[in-house]
Assembly symmetry: C2
């Protein structure tokens, strides 16, 4: 115990030590105090009363793409920016956005039932009755159709689920699959069903995951009631997000467009989201084998797989015309380096009212804009240009941000320092994701923001949570690794980003560093996700009562933006980036070795007949197929490149720190050259040829997974090749990634050389 106590003492000492090291990252020591004073003035410009007022006003009517109230909110946002002294304008694109004309779902056998497909008003929720002008619950970019077929229950509808069905000799050809939300991105469910021959897809919210099994339902609590429906996009975003007809270019009025029939991201079967109230009679009517234990949800029935005797009819007919969308873009021009842009955005469109998603994040962004405007009015000018964006059409597929980023891609590659995103925001803990090169910046900013509930910084509260999460029974390896890091390092790991919101085009297609910053976790908002119950009345009870975390988000992102804009050099640090990438590569090596061992073991079991021998002869059972062998991949060049990057990054960080101490190189030209070297460094990690089958995705370290949808795949070209056993692609991408890491290291070496005159120790 003596050693335990000693460790404890040192741990407590570490906790008590100041986490925000002075000087601030990217600032000369003598500028730190001025910057902190500026941030105090920024905080004073945030008015807690604004948040609820703006959210209530903007969520008063349906806000879907093309709705009058969404257009009105764009005008209002524009006026606010202008009132606060920003240069602002609306940029309009014209995009494919189908809207339903007819939706019908019936159980036609063995009994008859017509689905409600409607969210009725809820007592105490003032807007829940105002749905006359709302779109009905639907999945945008599903196909039109009128299909009648037997149902099959496929759990979450993910690849492993189909493998389980195959083991039981069940296939979905010519059938309608009914799957529950969860386990992977919504859009994969109908895509995978279609690839396997299904003719339709129903996605329901199971009450165990998202209803009374998760907590008290609305209006008693915040969770999804029996008639609540999760709308959402099923655009094939892992191929490319944004307008399906204009991949890689802005959907301006006269842009060249694909014919609809050739748009690869539009689904080919009808798909419909339904409530658990509507799903229950369908699931109860299923026969066939009982579903595997972990496929069973919270409805009071025995879950069966089918196929049939339940048979359903789905009818979907839509208006497939182009619709205009409206981004509001606002600028504060930089006084020192106007061609270095710091970007920050949040979307404005919603599925219905959208008090939480997205207006809670949008309000925080607008509060920042107001406070920045006040600083400008008081005479402050940012060193770099600040660009704020209120995106339209995020919900159907990140359309507003993607079209804008595509339209301005070249300029962004030349000018963007970083893009900072938020989307939703609630009471709880900081959720920070993004480029590890910004990890110090985020930790410093969050360390300077006080948690609204407890006497500590937002950073320290997050650190406590990460430490506890890593200690919990059932903690993942990842959670334990994060806890180990957080216990000893002054920063906390940024979550690697996949997709799911508007940072996507900036990170994955343009290739600049991004951050995703929000608060949450102490809320009950998930139960209104993409439903008409995502209302102001819901949000003020279950989201962020009192708007305290709205203010905290503005304070956090405000600091990040101010420091990105005003730092003497762009405030990147590279050692954490290099270590993180090195960690991914070690992990991939372990993955391949594990796959090889597991494949050998599984093949022996298959060949021995053990699967058939262990199966119940009274039930249908198909043993798994033999898998091809897992070769030994040559990781040496990749490992060497990662090691060299770690050395270059450390040298660069050290040179930068010394240069800031010493007052930077003399002369504006040298300083501009340095700033530009730092600004564009991460572009070295992109490859214009992109990922296999999806050239839109250019970043070689981060992408959403083709089989996960929103979930990230790090080193995606290599990782997905390994996971899918495409060994030639694996060899190829191991080489490509090694080259990209070397190019990145070259760039960091240029910085070191510029600052020290000598090349770094490699």
């Amino acid at each position: 115990m003596r050693s335990g106590l000693a460790l404890l003492a040192s741990f407590l000492a570490a906790l008590a030590a100041p986490v925000v090291a002075a000087p601030l990252q990217g600032f000369r020591p003598d500028r730190t105090e001025g910057q902190l004073a500026l941030e105090r003035r920024f905080d004073a410009g945030l008015d807690r009363a604004d948040y609820a007022a703006w959210i209530e006003d903007m969520s008063a009517e349906p806000n879907h793409v093309g709705s009058p109230h969404n257009r009105r909110n764009a005008e209002r946002t524009l006026a606010q920016f202008q009132e606060w002294g920003w240069e602002a304008r609306i940029e309009t694109f014209h995009v494919l956005y189908p809207t339903p004309l007819e939706l019908r779902l019936e159980l036609v056998a063995p009994t008859a039932f017509t689905a409600r497909l409607h969210e009725p008003p809820v007592p105490g929720d003032r807007t829940s009755g105002r749905t006359a002008d709302a779109l009905p619950p639907y999945n945008v970019y599903g196909a039109d159709g009128d299909v009648t077929a037997e149902l099959v229950y496929v759990n979450y509808g993910m690849p492993d689920d189909y493998r389980e069905l195959e083991r039981r000799g069940i296939d979905v050809r010519g059938r309608i699959v009914i799957v529950r939300y969860g386990g992977g991105w919504r859009g994969l469910k109908p895509k995978l069903a279609h690839e396997r021959g299904a003719v339709g897809c129903l996605i329901y919210s199971d009450p165990r995951d998202d209803g009374y099994g998760a907590g008290d339902t609305y209006p008693a609590g915040g969770f999804r009631p029996a008639d609540g429906v999760q709308r959402g996009s099923v655009l094939d975003m892992p191929v490319y997000p944004g307008d399906p007809l204009t991949p890689g270019r802005g959907a301006t009025e006269h842009a060249a467009r694909l014919p609809l029939a050739e748009a690869p991201t539009v689904l080919r079967i009808p798909v419909m989201p339904i409530s658990y109230g509507d799903a229950q009679p369908l699931l109860a009517a299923l026969g066939g084998p009982v579903a595997p234990a972990d496929w069973r949800g919270g409805l009071p029935l025995t879950y069966h797989l089918g196929p049939g005797p339940a048979k359903a009819r789905m009818v979907i007919r839509s208006d497939w015309s182009l619709k205009p969308i409206h981004n509001v873009i606002a600028r504060l021009p930089g006084a020192g380096q106007p061609d270095q842009w710091v970007l920050r955005g949040n979307h404005r469109d919603a599925w219905v009212f959208g008090a939480w998603d997205p207006l809670s994040g949008h309000a925080a962004m607008m509060a920042e804009a107001k406070a920045l405007g006040a600083l400008v009015r008081a005479g402050w000018r940012p060193r770099r240009t600040i660009v704020y964006a209120s995106w339209d059409a995020e919900e159907p597929g990140l359309v507003g941000s993607t079209e804008w980023a595509e339209e301005h891609a070249d300029e962004l590659r030349r000018k963007a320092v970083a893009y900072v995103n938020s989307d939703t925001n609630t009471r709880g803990f900081l959720r920070a994701g993004g480029s590890p090169s910004l990890q110090v910046l985020v930790a410093e900013a969050a360390g300077a923001v006080r948690d609204p509930q407890l006497p500590m910084s937002a950073l320290e509260r997050l650190r406590a949570k990460l430490l506890i999460d890593g200690e919990r029974k059932g903690a993942t390896d990842e959670q334990r690794a994060v806890a180990r890091f957080a216990a000893t390092e002054p920063t906390v790991p940024l979550v690697p980003l996949g997709s799911g919101t508007d940072f996507t085009a900036f990170l994955d297609h343009v290739g600049i560093p991004v951050l995703s910053l929000e608060y949450g976790g102490e809320d009950q908002v998930a139960g209104c996700y993409h439903s008409a119950y995502d209302s102001f009345d819901h949000y003020r009870r279950f989201g962020d009562p009192g708007s305290h975390y709205g203010v905290a988000l503005s304070q956090t992102i405000g600091r990040v933006v101010l420091r990105l804009a005003d730092a003497d050099v762009p405030p990147f640090t590279y050692a954490i980036m290099a270590d993180t990438v090195g960690g991914y590569i070690t992990e991939l090596r372990t993955l391949v070795d594990g796959m090889r061992e597991k494949t050998d073991r599984a093949n022996r079991l298959v060949a021995s007949g053990a699967f058939a021998s262990a199966a119940d002869p009274a039930e249908a059972y198909v043993p798994p197929p033999l898998e091809g062998p897992v070769p030994f991949l040559d990781f040496a060049p990749l490992g060497s490149a990662a090691e060299r990057l770690q050395a270059s990054a450390r040298a660069c960080d050290a040179a930068l720190a010394r240069a800031l101490e010493a007052g930077l190189p003399a002369g504006a030209a040298a300083q501009d050259e340095l700033a530009e070297l730092l600004r564009g460094a991460e572009l070295a990690l992109t490859d214009p040829a992109g990922l296999p089958g999806r050239p839109w995705y250019r970043h070689m370290i981060y992408a959403p997974g083709l089989q996960t949808g929103y979930g990230v795949k790090t080193v995606p070209g290599l990782r997905e090749a390994i996971e899918e056993r495409r060994w030639d692609d694996a060899e190829r991408y191991a080489r490509i990634v090694a080259e990209r890491l070397s190019a990145y290291a070259d760039r960091l070496d240029q910085v070191t050389r510029l600052l020290t005159g000598v090349p770094p120790t490699a």
Copy 2:
């Protein structure tokens, strides 16, 4: 892949190789063929028609302790043994067995509801209407009482669940706990509730674990319907099983008895088992915090913890008189070594009809008895004495077998070779537990029994299952270790035994090797467990259609009994026993090291305040307490003793194998001495002082856990001391176990010396 294929080839070769090594364990090579011929004649004496006929007849009326039909079944069993040529008699004991006179349960606030507490008839189940003479659903050995109090929901009611409640600032003092079945032995639930100040305990069957969430409910499928209730004992069996008034001695008519008030194994609060139909209104009426995610069951409601506003009244009044119980004991005297006894038993009493539990196992036992009788009639005499027992009063607390074993303990320690138990039996895989010294015997027997469904032996089917279970996602470390063993060794690991059925007194109190052998896993019987729906109509549909696995169990246990009875020397092998015990000790060392590390980490987190910082300030939260330090225990003597045992065991096994090859020592006296040395060897692992606080439990390697009830704790004195942080006890039991292992090694060395004339290499 080349190396994978090579491994695969050798694996397939291993599978194809004969698993049953000739000669049979314990037999001289020249006697193997005769033994196999005898076993074929035994098989011919098994009549598949008997099983269903006997089960149907014996389950025609309620069979609880003291019921007329249970008495009639005893007489019938006696008559059958006698008809088949066995010496048989009934041995009667007089035991405390309370039966309910009045049972009442009401929700009195916030709404009124009276629980049904009754299992209604089910269409198609012919006996389900014959419950007029049955006892109502109850938990035997709970206290009488009339209590009204607020309810608190405590999940499974296990120690970890109370720790979770403490974290939320909720205690159960003066309240009635409502807990679900599962997660640990039933009897611990009210015991732990009482220790924490609860005044009553309701135990219900949650439909997720044991109802529609598990599968289709009866009569559509075999799982528990809404009104089904799991009866069962709540006797504090981890202290001692059997009659609460006569610990350690037979409850003969004039035995000395404790006063009821001093009987430590009788509970002090009322406890009642209820259906999920009755539980639903109670749980729906609970307020307070939402239960943790893994506490939520399958009812269509949000599970809350309470306390209140739900308030319930429980009334229990019982008849506390002594009741007579009747064991039927039958013998086939041995011709060669009549004072070496091979014992085999199965209980006969049921909670209601008991077609599955216990009559399925009882029928297999009686079929063996009939076939053995036929062999005797044809002129065969066993070398050793065979004793078969039809136990009464297992259900209230292993009472029949325990009283008999206590009454005959001295004789059993002098004469018993081994005890073989079964209880229930269904379609599926062999489930084999017991002393590792019998692992080869079991593997050889199961290797000679053909699986009724697939063209392979019962052993090979079990091996396939163990290999697949070890490979499944979510496999436990234990399952993976078992799979590794099963992939390379000719035997499969026997499951270590805790308690839960009639082997307990023989293993834990007397101290002789036992086996528990049953088939199961491809059935739907668990849903009728301890309910009136455990009927012949249920069993023939969902238990063992066609009685094929009844025959397989008789074939398996018949071979085990015949080989134990007829082998030239008792068929033990010791290396597996020694390796297994060595494995337990390694595991304990890892356990202590893991606890030390975990304690240090947790204490640092507690001291840093991280728990409070990570908790939601809007909810009640109490951080966990600091734990005392985990010292470094001296495992050296224990490790040395285990190593010496491994060497002694290998030498002994080798000497026995050579001696059997060579024809054994000449002379009956030497052979008797050898047989006796082998027979009593495992008594060396017992300590008459027993375990801390429970001297009845004498075995130093196996016991049911004080905090698990039925679940085994290996090396229990040491393991429980570690788990409960009683470090002085841990030091003490490390020494005691080391001594016992040395004594066991001494005994094996005596065998080696007898056979070789020289002491073994140590």
